[in-house]
Amino acid sequence: MKAYPRMIRRGDSFNPLEVAKWTEEIVCRDGSRKYTAFYATGVYGGIATGYVVGCCFRCFFCWTDFSRDFPEFYGRYYTAEEACKNIVDVAKKWKVNKARISGGEPTLCKKHLIDLLRLIEERDEIKLFILETNGLLFGVDEGYVKDVVKFEKVYVRVSLKAGEPEAFEARTGASKEFFELPFKAIKSLLDLNARFHVAAMTDPRIMPSEERRKLIERLREIDDFLAVNLEEEVCDPYEGTLVRMQFYGLDPLKFFERRRGYWS
């Protein structure tokens, strides 16, 4: 790979495992990881969130800020102890007992994540830790899944991006040969009796109905329950999404059916 992939244009593709390693060189340092903020949000009925920097996918519909595309410019390094303290402080302040790290791919920087989960496990203030992942690194390393799901407070949400290899590559930039890895992660989670559910970007403006059907069928092959309990994601016009779409070659105004002003 010649250059670090940032926003993708239609037709771009890369090896996401290489991008994961490259991203880790930027956002992980001696057990610390880059975060841009710690705050509470209303999702999951209220949850303390550590906003991490860095991902190994480049979805054109991604809602996160530009730290995904330019991790060198955003955030600062926090040790697992500092991140845990900040998350617990936010939880106490907003009187919530759930926590997560979001905004980037939490499974990057393995040592940091495992250390953080160990610390969270010891804190009475947090009852549930939701790990939102694209499933790539779990799919390539079942041992990693084992290391994570042994923590009793961990609950995993695997977010699928496509139901077909070509669509996977077109939407995420990750080469289609890696399409199966998130499904492998789901199988591992099921085999290990982990606490988890599956989400997917099935917004009909992004995923055609036939592909959605195939995705549901794939989940059914693993377990009917996972298919029925599938969380179906919708694309919203966040600032980062609008810019990424435009760069990708999609008109965000058309996509979100907004009327153009006279200046456009």
Binding site: H197, F225, N229
Partner: protein, 81 residues
């Protein structure tokens, strides 16, 4: 309402509001009390509650049964054209 129908209702509610509101608030909107079996999960959003309930040996078969009944609907609801 029998447990099976409540579980079915929770699945359906998850399609509309699966991640944010706690299970007990959603069920109370239908004047339904959280059944004893689901009490430990009443403060969780319904989709997460269902996933955790699925891990309980005694509840798994019921959820499987309801899943197999609902799977046909999954492809006809919402935007499955």
């Amino acid at each position: 309402m029998e447990l099976k129908n409540i579980v079915k209702l929770i699945f359906k509610l998850s399609e509309v509001e699966g991640e944010d509101l706690p299970l007990k608030h959603l069920l109370s909107a239908f004047n339904i009390e959280v059944p004893r079996e689901l009490k430990p999960y009443e403060d969780l959003p319904p989709r997460i509650a269902l996933s955790l309930i699925y891990k309980i040996e005694g509840m798994r078969n019921l959820l499987r049964e309801v899943s197999s009944e609902l799977i046909k609907e999954k492809c006809t609801i919402k935007h499955c054209h």
